[in-house]
């Protein structure tokens, strides 16, 4: 699954119905009959299993016809309900190969106004391997959509675990994180870990907010504008949190201009995420007690932001 994560849910479902194969959504347990049964036998089975139709298969499980509840009602009506189905069943059967996407199944169900499609082994086979209904598709979609949310949840829980583990390390040890360029899915992960880390140290909420925002903006800068880099966070002897963000380039041609609120080089993609208002560096400067930035078109950008923890937040 490689959905572009900034899209709406509807788009996600749209993508999924192309990605999910009939094979993954269908029921493998197929209730079927052979052609030498009567309509009444089928009617009893339909009632018992609460289904609306059954495929008719030969002894090699190849499909030869289908009998629906409508056919049974007609048989009652016309008085041949105790006759064998072989002379009456419809032999024109709409099927779908198992390797097709569920979107094709949805189209076929709609186009022919049927409630279920027998699934064949392949396009040039009549052998039935399953049966698919709209509710099968819906169930599968829900499971997949749910698992995407759970995957993100698991990843975040792991992040929390990381910050817990960091607590055990000595406070004076700098924390170092790699930040990939152009990796929107993980953007903000470092800031989140750092925030949890300082929360666990019992730092003042207002200061944690400032640290989190500075980290986040610096991380987003590396992620959105550079080829990747790293962040180092340490607490120095003067009770300052020092945040270093370093990237491998391409560098900022005019740092003074980049510091101007509202100045931006953001692309449409970045703006679609809600960023790119030209407030990144100004925000970092605003929230830090001390702020330095150096950039070279040869070696990339180095940013240093210092936030004082204040007397009551002293870390031993």
């Amino acid at each position: 699954m490689n959905a572009n994560y900034s899209k709406e849910k509807l788009t996600l479902v749209n993508e999924l119905i192309y990605e999910i194969k009939v094979k993954e959504a269908m029921s493998k347990k197929v209730i079927f009959f052979e052609e030498n049964v009567t309509f009444r036998e089928i009617q009893l089975k339909l009632k018992e299993k609460k289904i609306s139709g059954v495929p008719i298969l030969d002894d090699e499980r190849n499909i030869i016809g289908i009998v629906s509840i409508d056919d049974v009602i007609t048989a009652f009506d016309k008085g041949y309900v105790d006759n064998k189905i072989i002379d009456y069943m419809s032999r024109k059967v709409i099927t779908i190969p198992q390797n097709f996407s569920v979107v094709s199944a949805i189209h076929e169900l709609e186009r022919f106004g049927v409630g279920r499609l027998p699934v064949t082994e392949s396009s040039n086979s009549k052998k039935i391997v399953g049966i698919i209904t709209l509710s099968d598709i819906l169930n599968r979609l829900l499971v997949v959509v749910q698992s995407i949310a759970e995957k993100v949840e698991d990843k975040e829980i792991k992040n929390t675990q990381i910050s817990h583990d960091l607590i055990k390390s000595i406070v004076k040890n700098p924390l170092r994180f790699e930040v990939k360029g152009d990796d929107f899915d993980n953007a903000g992960r470092v800031a989140s870990i750092i925030k949890k880390y300082f929360q666990n140290l019992g730092i003042d909420r207002d200061i944690i907010r400032r640290i989190a925002i500075v980290c986040y903006e610096a991380e987003m800068n590396i992620c959105l504008h550079s080829l990747g880099g790293s962040m180092i966070i340490e607490v120095n002897n003067d009770n300052n949190v020092v945040i270093y963000a370093h990237d491998k380039g391409p560098g900022i041609p005019d740092v003074k201009l980049a510091l101007k609120p509202g100045f931006t080089t953001a692309t449409e993609k970045i703006r679609a995420l809600g960023f790119g208002a030209g407030m990144g560096l100004p925000n970092i400067r605003h929230y830090s007690d001390k702020f330095e930035i150096e950039s070279s078109l040869r070696t990339g950008t180095e940013l240093k932001a210092i936030i004082n923890l204040g007397v009551k937040n002293e870390i031993k």
């Binding site: 994560y5 849910k9 949310a149 829980i157 929107f184 903006e217 679609a272 407030m279």
Partner: protein
């Protein structure tokens, strides 16, 4: 928008005021709101928001949840009937941030919240 101490609104009150649907975080609706922010620009949210606030937004990416989490939001309300991505919902769940959805427009949502706050103050 900040309001005076003593005027209290809870996250669950928003469901009534905005006729909102709870998308996740049903167990965390009892929190007290101290501030609101309405924005479609993450940079602005980062620049101006305060702890324990509710964010009203039309953005639906997981980055908006990340931004909310880092700035101390206790709930996100998606306005004009927008649905967040599954990634956004997963992220919100893991940080115990309830997500609400309302069909009201951004302006209407803000107006309704302000009217409710004024009503509450008069009743005091």
């Amino acid at each position: 928008m900040s309001f005076k101490k003593g005027i209290i609104m809870k996250v669950k009150d928003l469901i009534r005021v905005l006729d909102a649907e709870v998308l996740c975080g049903e167990d965390f609706l009892d929190q007290e709101i101290t501030d609101f922010d309405a924005s479609d620009l993450l940079s602005d949210i980062l620049a101006y928001s305060k702890d324990d606030y509710v964010l009203l937004t039309g953005l639906t990416s997981s980055q908006v949840v990340r931004t909310a989490e880092l700035t101390g939001a206790i709930t996100i309300v998606f306005v004009r009937g927008k649905l967040p991505s599954q990634e956004a919902i997963g992220l919100a769940k893991s940080h115990y941030i309830p997500l609400l959805k309302t069909d009201n427009l951004m302006f209407t949502s803000c107006r309704k919240i302000i009217e409710e706050l004024i009503k509450e103050e008069k009743n005091k």
